[in-house]
């Protein structure tokens, strides 16, 4: 098989090291700025890069616009999840959550505003924080991760108010059910648990792997991604990607995709999912595959829809995963270009 060989540039030690770092980089999390013009991406080396979406999408975009405006070392370990409030970027990875001011981050050498560590039981190993969830009504943040518990932190005071226990293995993902308000959490133990925030108690448990239609034992039972639309919930991971009706706890649609999905979200009347395999999948609620759009990374870990009202021209879908690139889809039908670390 003939392959075009790229020109070999004389590479010194630092260039080789940087190239290797980029080859082995994984982008775990993304977050859009409140103004909608910037995208933050966190990777497995603990770095956060801020990309300017408005510059990359503008008509005079050059190669440099696809590079980060600024990159800084945020955490010692990987940055597993990030979320944005109307002024701050909250990033979490190795056991602690840090807050950064969006307005300050574009300048070099910015420092975190504050950092907090939820009270952990074990001291041997610092558990990671896999998911962050904002509850706007209470102005609080929910963290969940390696210690199998959900912690609630009040954003104004910074104190940890509640601890929700119930998972038997670490938690992968969180979703918020606005109406109740309830929090859904999916974990390695294969269960999706619903928690009522007012009473701080577990309300409902769905053990996905126990349902024969969706379980896939060769993949495992872990729940990697969750999304909810009040009455409906879609979850995936080891078991197949399934749409559930929450009140009756029954699986209504099973999406026919073999690869484990790592991120799923509702968008208008579609369900977008991404996971192992290059593509972003678009599903109808009936279970039909509407489109499969290939990206540039061999596996995807996070999807982000920029729906900020302040920047309608930057309304894009960005996908990132097992590479140093963030794919930008201006139109859900094809990949427009990629931003790169």
């Amino acid at each position: 098989m003939e392959r075009a060989v790229p020109l070999a540039v004389p590479l010194g030690q630092t260039e080789v090291f940087q190239a290797l770092q980029r080859l082995h980089m994984t982008i775990f999390s993304q977050s859009v700025s409140p103004c909608g013009k910037f995208l933050a991406a966190g990777n497995n080396y603990g770095q956060i890069a801020i990309f300017s979406l408005s510059a990359a999408l503008s008509s005079e975009a050059k190669e440099e616009s696809k590079k980060p405006v600024v990159t800084f070392q945020a955490h010692d370990g990987p940055v597993y999840s990030m979320v944005s409030t109307d002024r701050h970027l909250l990033s979490a990875g190795d056991g602690e959550v840090k807050a950064w001011l969006w307005a300050e981050m574009l300048k070099k050498g910015c420092k975190e505003l504050w950092r907090r560590q939820p009270p952990y039981r074990t001291s041997l190993e610092v558990p990671e924080i896999n998911a962050l969830l904002l509850v706007p009504k209470e102005n609080s943040l929910i963290l969940a991760g390696g210690d199998c518990q959900l912690h609630t932190m009040d954003l104004e005071t910074g104190t940890f108010t509640r601890v929700l226990r119930g998972h038997t293995d670490y938690i992968h993902c969180l979703a918020l059910r606005e109406r109740s308000p309830e929090v859904l959490s999916g974990g390695e133990d294969g269960a999706v648990r619903l928690w009522d925030l007012r009473t701080a108690k577990e309300v409902q448990t769905i053990e996905v792997y126990k349902h024969e239609e969706c379980s896939r034992p060769h993949n495992g039972r872990w729940i990697g991604c969750l999304a909810t639309d009040s009455d409906w919930m879609v979850c995936g991971g080891g078991p197949a990607l399934t749409l559930w009706h929450l009140r009756s706890s029954t699986p209504t649609t099973i999406f026919p995709i073999r690869a484990p999905q790592k991120h799923v979200t509702f968008y208008q009347d579609l369900i977008l999912s991404a996971g192992q395999g290059r593509c972003v999948n678009q599903w109808q609620l009936s279970g039909e595959l509407k489109a499969q759009v290939p990206g540039s990374s061999p596996g995807l870990l996070s999807l982000s829809l920029n729906q900020q009202p302040a920047a309608p021209e930057c309304k894009v879908l960005t996908a990132a995963g097992n590479s140093c690139r963030v794919d930008v889809f201006t139109n859900l039908g094809y990949r427009a270009f990629s931003l790169s670390f």
Binding site: M1, R3, V5, P6, L7, A8, V9, P10, L11, G12, Q13, E15, V16, F17, A19, L20, Q21, R22, L23, H24, T26, F28, G77, P78, Y80, L124, E125, E128, N130, G146, Y170, H172, C173, E188, P217, H218, G220, W222, G224, K262, Q276, P298, G299, L301, N322
Partner: protein, 635 residues
């Protein structure tokens, strides 16, 4: 009055004489005789009076004239006097003006200023009291002082001249003495030769070498000088020698007349030969090529001795027409090396010095002007001739002081000592590290081919005590084969798999699991780490494109290589990386979650101590080994 009367009388006389003459003729003769007598006496008296009067008139005239004359004389005398005086006045005026205009020579002399004069002059010359008031005296005094000073300086000048003469004479004497010394020293040196040899101090040899060095072409000369200097000053393990024929070098610079004669002779000969047989175009071109690529007969040999008694022999040649230097390398070891099959290229003279500096592959000529020369004789590229001519690395040119600016052919590039000196130390150190790392790899390859990963005792702490996975195979593969592998696409696309690298394939096995590792060894090992790409065959084929954990394993050896470097110089990097791969395979296989649907026990029971089996959204296995606690955790 009397004259008037005399005059009156006359006419009377006449008349009277006339009239009466007739009447009285008788009375008349006596009276007439008496009157005639009377009248005659009267006329004589009258004549006398006339004469007297005439005389008087003349005398008065004369007197008058004399008086006039006298007066005139006086006037003339006064006039003369006046003229004289006027003349004198004019003369005096002229003199005065001349005197006034007179510029005495003393005004042309720059006298010292008044203040200085009064300061410096001794009081008997300056005579301040007198001279202050009187400018004439002042000037005189100043002139005196000037004279005094000049006399003193003239004295000094004469003294200095005489000194100089003396010293010149002394110099002459000493020169003669020294020149008489030369033949005596020569004889002493001759006599001391056997002593030198006995004491191992080869001064004479060094001297001879310098003599030969005079015939070296400039770049080789620069290299020789700088290398000798460096060897003497910093590095006793470096030895420099000159090889080749000095006579041939001298022959290159024959004087033009001789060569013209030769040319005419050879022309005549050539004409004769052309009549017999025309050389073919190809042969002519070949000759031209040979001429273009001709080497200078002399070459410089550098021997670098390393700590373990292995020696790197470098021979530097100078290509005269192309104005570049090339090098041939050879490594000899203290003991005979049994070359393992995979280590064939490690120490081969062709590639042992490749990419000493990043990108310096030595296949292209560094002199941009050579391209035009090549076009004339139909040489495509120097890399065809590199085997016999040696490699024209960039660092070789720098050591010879030749600096070729990129892409811009320069008029003449001359050898520069400072360029050579600045690069000498780094290059020598790099050469030594290169040889040592290659020799270390050589030894390691011998062991790897037997399936043993040689981990030294000071690197044992990086790995757990029990490692079950074994290295089964270690072979070289060709560059093209590496590019064809399906799991190496990323490395090729990133431009890290050039043709100057060496490629190997390792196979690690445990039970039914087979892990293939394709290795890219950069010539700059060990500062540039080897790059691994993995493909695991166990329950399907897993590579970095479909299994995040395989990707993480690659990251552990490729990105976190600094932990595996071991003590400096990090010759243990490759073997540590291989050992780590074995450990990672162990962890991977043992922590694989058991599939409930399949019957039977797990193929690989978990023996490693891990805090958690999975972590993070991508469910990574614990690949990080913690020493000395001995458990595995996540990064």
């Amino acid at each position: 009055m009397s004259s008037e009367s005399s005059k009156k009388r006359k006419p009377k006389v006449i008349r009277s004489d006339g009239a009466p003459a007739e009447g009285k003729r008788n009375r008349s003769d006596t009276e007439q005789a008496i009157e005639i007598e009377e009248r005659r006496i009267q006329s004589c008296v009258h004549f006398m009076t006339l004469k007297k009067l005439n005389r008087l008139a003349h005398i008065r005239l004369k007197k008058g004239r004399d008086q006039t004359h006298e007066a005139k004389q006086k006037v003339d005398a006064y006039h003369l006097q006046l003229q004289n005086l006027l003349y004198e006045v004019m003369h005096l005026q002229k003199e005065i003006t001349k005197c006034l205009e007179f510029k005495s020579k003393h005004e042309e002399i720059d006298l010292v200023s008044l203040e200085e004069f009064y300061k410096e002059a001794p009081p008997d010359i300056s005579k301040a009291e007198v001279t202050m008031g009187d400018p004439h005296q002042q000037t005189l005094a100043r002139l005196d002082w000037e004279l005094e000073q000049r006399k003193r300086l003239a004295e000094k000048y004469r003294e200095c001249l005489s000194n100089k003469e003396k010293i010149l004479k002394e110099i002459e004497v000493k020169k003669e003495y020294l020149s008489s010394l030369q033949p005596r020293l020569n004889s002493i040196m001759q006599a001391s030769l056997p002593v030198q040899e006995y004491l191992f101090m080869p001064f004479d040899q060094a001297h001879k070498q310098y003599e030969t060095a005079r015939h070296l072409p400039p770049p080789l000369y620069v290299l020789f000088v700088q290398a000798t200097a460096y060897g003497q000053a910093c590095d006793k393990t470096l030895s420099v020698a000159i090889e080749g024929s000095v006579d041939e070098a001298k022959a290159l610079f024959k004087p033009p007349e001789d060569s013209q004669d030769d040319e005419s002779d050879s022309d005549a000969e050539e004409e004769q030969t052309t009549k017999r047989r025309r050389p073919t175009l190809g042969v002519q071109l070949d000759d031209k090529r040979k001429e273009m690529l001709k080497r200078h007969p002399l070459s410089v040999m550098l021997d670098l001795k390393c700590k373990d008694d292995s020696v790197l022999h470098l021979t530097f040649y100078y290509l005269m027409n192309l104005n570049i230097m090339t090098v041939k390398a050879k490594v000899t070891t203290a003991m005979e090396l049994i070359t393992p099959i995979s280590a064939g290229d490690l120490l081969s003279p062709d590639s042992v010095l490749s990419c000493l500096y990043p990108g310096d592959h030595g296949k292209k000529t560094p002199n941009p002007a050579n391209q035009y020369q090549f076009d004339k004789v139909g040489i495509l590229t120097l890399s065809d001739y590199v085997l016999e001519l040696g490699h024209p690395y960039l660092w070789v040119q720098k050591l010879g002081g030749l600096h070729f600016p990129k892409e811009q052919p320069q008029q003449t590039v001359i050898a520069d000592h400072s360029l050579s000196a600045s690069h000498m130390e780094t290059t020598m150190k790099l050469l030594k590290t290169r040889v040592q790392s290659r020799l270390a790899l050589h030894k390691q390859f011998a062991s790897l081919e037997h399936g043993i990963v040689p981990v030294t005792s000071d690197c044992q702490y990086l790995f757990p005590a029990k490692v079950v996975s074994r290295l089964v195979k270690w072979v070289t593969i060709a560059h093209e084969d590496y590019m064809e592998l399906h799991f190496t696409k990323d490395i090729v696309d990133a431009g890290l798999a050039g043709d100057t690298n060496l490629y190997y394939m390792a196979l690690i096995e445990r039970g039914t699991a087979k892990l293939q590792a394709a290795v890219v060894l950069n010539p700059g090992y060990s500062s540039i780490p080897p790059i691994f790409q993995l493909c695991l065959n166990w329950k399907g084929e897993k590579t970095n494109s479909n299994d995040d954990n395989i990707r993480a394993m690659e990251g552990e050896v490729n990105v976190c290589y600094k932990e595996l470097c071991g003590p400096w110089p990090s010759h243990q990097l490759l073997t540590n990386q291989l050992q780590r791969l074995c450990v990672l395979l162990d962890v991977y296989l043992e922590t694989e979650s058991h599939d409930d649907s399949v019957e039977g026990p797990k193929e690989f029971p978990q023996e490693k101590m891990c805090l958690r089996l999975f972590r993070g959204p991508s469910r990574m296995k614990p690949f990080k080994y913690n020493h000395p606690q001995g458990f595995f955790s996540h990064r």
